[in-house]
């Protein structure tokens, strides 16, 4: 039997029972489509998070005060205070490293912001002009914080769009005065809409010069220092330099934590990849169920087609050829089912992309390969038993029955 004959034969069988074929295709299609759709969701989430981190700036190294002996993210390190502050002088000293391009010290706190009778609680960010370059913040109107000595406390501020709308409505904003706590600040700029980035909404913040924030919150201590390395290769050097510089300034004590952005991204990447794999595995269980269905239908087919198989054998078909006939049919069914499934999965992806344009839904290549391959493998695996049964039929007996 030639290959074309084999395919033709299987095709005839599939066409002979359109209802049955349709239902098997449906089962396989659901399985493959769910795997494709689910991995597309997972991969989309992963890319989204990576992009979000990327928009925070590249080649970033973050310096936090405090250090923990125990491994893992210690909330104590992340928000707690330390006896020895990380100060502005420490941050400025980091510039002496040759691998460092920009630094931006940060103080964050809650401040109640007032204009006339309107008031609003917003996060207040104390920092220097370089943060705009590091974190890719754009200004929609006016300008960002002025360059100059960060020790000088200028009474100016830059506000997010939401803050501007809430406090001023449609009135012009630039040059107006704003009260934060018991201090006054002149608005010199409004930031461009950037939206949420990792839970921190830049549309809702007020940015003031670092020294002003120090006075406002009555603290010397920086929450963290963002450092941008000159290039990707320089990141380890920056890390080593930062630790050494601070150690020398803190009387030999290593009381800071240095996180590279790459490490953070890598962690998130790993977690989300593992999640995607796990969820894809769950969805793939449905492929096994579809495999069971194929086996069931094939077994029935062997009983129904006894005479046909008997005739084939009587005409000289070997057991191997009979097996091949059944495998061809199973592969054909699984392949068409997988094709339908991928098409439907991609359709779902398109709809999801339409609904949430920010998230880059894209089924990863491994899922697009793995889903059909798994479908084919289960189909072949579950056809072994029926095909064997068919091949072992005794032609005389098979033909002798009615």
């Amino acid at each position: 039997m030639r290959l074309t004959d084999m395919l033709n034969f299987a095709w005839q069988v599939m066409r002979g029972y359109p209802g049955r074929t349709f239902l098997i295709l449906l089962a396989m299609g659901i399985g493959v489509a769910s795997v494709v759709a689910v991995t597309a969701l997972g991969e989309g989430a992963r890319l989204y998070v990576s992009n979000q981190f990327g928009s925070l700036g590249t080649n970033l190294v973050i310096v936090l005060p405090g250090r923990s002996e125990t491994a893992g993210a210690m909330p104590g390190v992340l928000i707690g205070k330390t006896p020895r502050d990380l100060t502005l002088e420490d941050a400025l000293a980091l510039k002496s490293s040759r691998a460092v391009r920009y630094i931006a010290p940060l103080i964050v706190g809650a401040g109640d912001v007032r204009v006339g009778a309107r008031r609003r609680e917003t996060p207040v960010l104390g920092t220097t002009a370089e943060i705009a370059t590091i974190r890719r913040m754009d200004v929609a109107q006016g300008r960002f914080l002025p360059e100059g000595d960060p020790r000088q406390s200028l009474p100016v501020c830059v506000i997010g769009t939401t803050v501007a709308n809430e406090l001023f409505g449609t009135r012009p904003v630039l040059g107006e005065w704003l009260r934060i706590g018991d201090r006054r600040f002149r608005i010199i700029g409004v930031m461009a809409k950037q939206g949420e980035s990792l839970g921190f909404n830049t549309d809702e913040i007020v940015v003031v010069p670092l020294a002003a924030a120090q006075a406002l919150f009555n603290t010397e201590s920086l929450l963290r220092v963002l450092v941008e390395a000159k290039s990707r290769e320089q990141i380890p050097n920056v890390k080593a330099d930062v630790e050494e510089i601070i150690r020398l300034r803190h009387e030999g004590e290593r009381d800071i934590t240095v996180i590279t952005q790459d490490a953070v991204i890598a962690t998130f990447d790993r977690i989300l990849r593992a999640l995607t794999l796990a969820v894809a595995g769950i969805a793939a269980v449905s492929l096994a169920v579809a495999g069971i269905l194929i086996m069931n239908v094939m077994l029935i087919a062997v009983t129904q087609r006894r005479r046909e198989i008997g005739l084939l054998k009587a005409l000289g078909a070997t057991g191997r050829q009979i097996r091949l006939v059944f495998f061809t049919e199973a592969v054909l069914l699984a392949a068409s089912g997988a094709a339908v499934g991928i098409a439907v999965g991609q359709l779902g992806r398109n709809i999801a992309t339409h609904l949430y344009p920010m998230i880059p839904f894209q089924a990863p290549w491994w899922a697009l390969v793995a889903a059909p391959v798994v479908a084919l493998l289960t189909a072949v695996l579950f056809t072994v038993a029926p095909a064997r049964r068919a091949a072992l039929l005794d032609p005389v007996q098979a033909l002798s029955r009615r």
């Binding site: 209802g19 049955r20 239902l23 449906l26 089962a27 659901i30 399985g31 769910s34 689910v38 005060p65 405090g66 250090r67 923990s68 002996e69 125990t70 993210a73 210690m74 104590g76 928000i79 707690g80 205070k81 330390t82 006896p83 020895r84 103080i107 964050v108 706190g109 809650a110 401040g111 109640d112 609680e121 996060p123 934060i180 706590g181 839970g199 921190f200 406002l216 919150f217 009555n218 603290t219 010397e220 201590s221 929450l223 004590e253 009381d255 969820v279 769950i282 969805a283 269980v285 449905s286 096994a288 169920v289 579809a290 069971i292 269905l293 086996m295 069931n296 239908v297 077994l299 029935i300």
Partner: protein, 399 residues
């Protein structure tokens, strides 16, 4: 056709094709097992998180400075122009129904003892901290009841810190240096282990006023308030707000009852469990398609039998019920098997990975069975209708 005949007929037709029945039921079983297993893990996780929180008590309210909430915590805990002071905490003790009000500030500091040095999480707390969070002291005592504004330099160690510094020695009465100041150790806490990423044993507790001085900071991070368990939460919340607004002139703080936090966690975890269960349910749908396929084939095979039944007087409705019954029975068998399979794997998982919380509530078992039967019914409708509508004459002739 009476009920017993009906059941026997269905049972016989399933038994006649044993392999077919087993395979069809297996499809449903795999689906149900996946759903049961996933929801068990979800429910286990839910209980785990709730238990992690409620070990500190449920009649707890957190008061934090500032009103903007990010990442579930008030930003005011970091820096704020509207500080919460120790006096605020003392004033809150007078709020209605309030039992304890304990100030807290947290940080990271170096602790030294005889040349050994360790970075630990430092908690500046009041004397009621252990009582309000239901933490037990292993040896010695917790910080003594005295004016929190001028407390003496006593420290209580977490169990891990005590072990690292003192080994088998008795740490009570020893002097340690915390952030450059000397403290006398008066107690060691019982081991509490990791709670949601916090290692509560790698800690040192000192009086809150001294911690504020050490960190050069004026605002507390939060105030823990416990209230009488029988008191209505809303009333307690109102009382706290009234007192603080009178003291600050405005509502510049956030009051978060523990129960509200638990509810939020509960909804999030339920949503996740539901999403994962839905993913498992895809297999169930495929299993349903399996029943549909097999029954469609069965109707075609048994055309003459149906014709005979109709000829001897079975109504269309009876035929419909027969095939529906077969579908439901198939699904029910599959559902029961899947239930055993899922619960079995869940139990095995618990044996193999005791750290993974797994819990299979009985209500799920009932629900899974109902879902399986529903899937069977839905899948049976089309083939059953086709069987019922067969013309008896045509059907008999098909032989």
């Amino acid at each position: 056709m009476n009920i017993t005949d009906f059941i026997r007929f269905t049972y016989d037709s399933l038994r006649a094709h044993r392999l077919r029945t087993v395979l069809t039921a297996l499809g449903i079983a795999v689906g149900i097992a996946a759903v049961i297993l996933l929801t068990s893990i979800g429910e286990g996780l839910h209980r785990f998180v709730i238990a992690e929180f409620t070990q500190f008590g449920t009649n707890l309210i957190n008061v934090t400075p500032g009103r903007i909430q990010t990442h579930g915590a008030s930003l005011g805990a970091v820096n704020t122009v509207r500080p919460l002071s120790i006096d605020d905490a003392i004033a809150l003790k007078r709020a209605p129904h309030v039992q304890l009000a304990d100030p807290l500030v947290q940080g990271n500091s170096d602790v030294k003892y005889f040349g050994k040095s360790r970075r630990v999480t430092l908690y500046g707390v009041g004397p009621d901290f252990a009582a309000s969070l239901r933490m037990q002291v292993a040896t010695g005592e917790f910080l003594p009841q005295e004016d929190p504004r001028s407390a003496r330099a006593f420290a209580v160690l977490g169990s891990k810190v005590a072990r690292e510094f003192f080994g088998a020695e008795n740490p009570l009465g020893s002097r340690i240096r915390v952030g450059g100041e000397r403290y006398r150790v008066i107690g060691v806490m019982q081991s509490k282990g990791q709670v949601l990423g916090f290692d509560l044993d790698d800690t040192v507790f000192i009086p809150v006023a001294r911690a504020l001085d050490m960190f050069n900071r004026e605002s507390l991070q939060e105030i823990h308030v416990t209230y009488e368990p029988t008191a209505p939460v809303a009333e307690v919340e109102q009382g706290i707000k009234r007192i603080l607004i009178a003291r600050h002139g405005a509502e510049d703080f956030t009051v978060t009852p523990q129960q509200k936090m638990l509810e939020v966690f509960g909804t999030v975890l339920d949503a996740i469990t539901f999403a994962v269960a839905a993913m498992g349910a895809i297999s169930l749908v495929v299993g349903g398609v399996g029943i549909l396929t097999i029954l469609t084939i069965a109707v075609a095979e048994r055309t003459s039998e149906i014709g005979l039944l109709r000829a001897v007087g079975a109504t269309q409705q009876a035929i419909l019920l027969l095939f529906l019954g077969e579908a439901v029975l198939l699904a029910a068998i599959g559902g029961a098997a899947g239930l055993l399979l899922g619960a079995g794997i869940a139990a095995l998982l618990q044996l193999a990975l005791p750290a993974l919380p797994v819990h299979t509530p009985w209500s799920y078992a009932v629900m899974a069975e109902i879902v399986a039967v529903t899937v069977g019914l839905a899948a049976g409708v089309l083939p059953a209708r086709r069987a019922a509508r067969l013309d008896p004459l045509e059907a008999l002739r098909s032989e």
